[in-house]
């Protein structure tokens, strides 16, 4: 394989990885606080894609982006309020089943509202502009994605490490009940977590769908699961871990496709997951947790 092709695929992989990383952050934050695999997260990402299609149909992109961002955040918080909040004290299996139920509902709702046929994702000006550097050509979005991901991660990390809300989030993820006793408004913290997760899912969907160009009701399922794997790979609960995991999966997957094993690109993700769970269940950056009896 020539170096140009390698570079080209590497660039695609990094870009895909950036989008995965942004979605994986949503998983890792929710898991860190609620100990819940938010199966609906991938579908929030899919819905954000649809929102964007309809917003762009009637308004320019600079108006559409903030509106859709808000809609996605509202959707994320609403799901938490309706489907997860009533089950706070229920066994973990129930919350997980509820999450699967929400995912099923969102997919069916999308099929009903927007039909099962793939819809074209609108082109946002500037993002699709093709840049050429030597023999390598890439659209602007491919180049922006990794940088945007890194910037957003830094912003998020400083939010978590240096603000009151961030401190509350860390406290809740360490010990749910004690932080409640310390006067932290748990529900507010959880809502904030879902809001941030959905916001990043929206940005992820913007970057992901601009490259893929179509949205259909099930286009959130597999990316969703992969991003959860990315979160586990990096160490669940750790934000830098999720970002690194996202990049590893994105690059690995693209390389497999480049080598001609595209049928195995999904299997690769899960194979990594299983290997990781066996040898280092806490992930690359995870803290060691001891089970309390």
């Amino acid at each position: 394989m020539s170096s140009t092709i390698l570079l080209q695929h590497g660039l695609t992989g990094i870009s895909l990885g950036g989008a995965y990383a942004l979605i994986a952050i949503g998983y890792t934050m929710v898991y860190g606080i609620l100990r819940l695999i938010n199966f609906a997260h991938g579908d929030i990402f899919m819905m954000a894609g649809y929102f964007m299609i309809f917003a762009m149909a009637s308004m320019p992109w600079f108006a559409a982006i903030p509106i859709v961002m808000m809609l996605t955040v509202v959707l994320g918080i609403a799901i938490e309020q309706v489907a997860y909040k009533p089950l706070r004290s229920a066994p973990r299996m129930s919350i997980m089943i509820s999450a699967i139920g929400v995912s099923y509902l969102l997919q069916n709702l999308a099929t009903y509202l927007f039909t099962a046929l793939p819809r074209g994702y609108p082109e946002i000006p500037y993002l699709k502009k093709i840049l050429r550097i030597g023999d390598v050509s890439a659209s602007l979005v491919t180049i922006i994605t990794p940088f945007l991901t890194v910037v957003l991660t830094f912003l998020l990390l400083s939010l978590i490490n240096h603000t009151k809300l961030g401190m509350a989030m860390r406290a809740v993820s360490k010990d749910y009940e004690t932080s409640q006793l310390m006067g932290i408004k748990i529900n507010k913290v959880i809502s904030a977590t879902f809001a941030i997760g959905s916001l990043l899912a929206f940005i992820g969907s913007l970057l992901y769908f601009t490259d893929r160009m179509t949205v259909f009701p099930f286009s959130g399922t597999l990316p969703g699961l992969k991003c959860f794997v990315a979160a586990v790979l990096g160490g669940i609960g750790s934000i830098p871990g999720a970002v690194v995991g996202g990049f590893i999966l994105g690059i690995g997957e693209t390389l497999l496709v480049a080598l001609g094993y595209s049928t195995f690109s999904d299997a690769f993700t899960f194979a990594i997951l299983i290997v990781m769970l066996l040898f280092r269940p806490t992930g690359l950056f995870g803290e060691k947790v001891t089970d309390k009896v």
């Binding site: 819940l36 489907a83 973990r92 069916n108 299983i274």
Partner: protein
Amino acid sequence: MKTLDKKTTYALSAGLLAIAVLILFYMDQNRAAYNYPLSILQRSAIYAVAAVAMNLLTGFTGLFSLGQAGFMAIGAYTVAVLTIPVSARPSVYYISGIADPLAEATAPLWVALLIGGLLAALLGFLIGYPVLRLKSDYLAIATLGFSEIIRAFIAAPMLNRVTNGSYGLKSIPGFPSTLMVFLIAGLCIFLMVLVIRSSYGRAFQAIREDEIAAESMGIGLFKHKQMAFVISCFFTGISGGMLAVFMRSIDSKTFQIALTYDILLIVVLGGIGSVTGSVLGSFLMTAGREWLRFFDNPLVIGGFQVPLFRTGFRMVIFSLILMAVVLYYRKGLMGTREFSWNGMYAFAQKHVLKRNKTPIPAESDTEDSATSERGCSK
């Protein structure tokens, strides 16, 4: 509370069974007229096997596995490869031909089902070694991952000569009669009930309640988890094989995560930890999808077209109902109880017959469920 004696309950069960067999036999004889209800019934029976197998794992052993679709795929492809008539094979494998050892390999349906189940069980045994050491949601996501890997292998071009890759397999001979579907499904569920009621089944339930307590009572955790997983995989494989025979053509897309979710939602609807609940759930869910079909057609009342009714609305309603069950009726239809004639009798006495006008004390509620639970353990 007065209970029915054993003779009456046996008579009632035999009566119900006889009626069911007669109805099925009648419908089978007039297959042309009852094609649609028969196909719903067959699908329900097949899903019931898969749901009870999942319940054995999730409800009775407390292992939340989401790998059902993968194991069903193993069973389905085994049965398909072994039962497609040799004469039809060249037209099925028209792309790259069939692998030489399989070209002449055929087996009668029941042998093929058994082999499918055994292969799924073998795979479950191998996967179980690494995966069963994981806890709750990690186990779920790892089994989900395995099911996707199995699907990827089935669709892989390297296995074209066995699974026909992404083209799928067709011309699978269907079931000769609905009665046969019910017979196989009934046998499978009966065997699983025997397992649940055996001493092994008790051990599974002990593990579900408290792993540490179970271990300290001398129950080998890993051995029993492995056993539950392998048994569940075996029957999941058989149900997959039955699904292949029912659908008559399969491809790797049949066994997507959505299939696992369907089975999971049946188990949840019926009640996690109730065999009869799962059976009831699978019939209700499969039939419910068809009953709700009128939501998909435009509805016109007095010249006014009701706006919401169009394609896809049915599934929205359906998922809303399921969400309502998950959120507000977490126990599902049956909770952890089982159907028993005594329970029915007690229920009828309390709600329909209203024989004893004296106010029933509050404890009678728990007493009721206790009697019905005892009814199941006998």
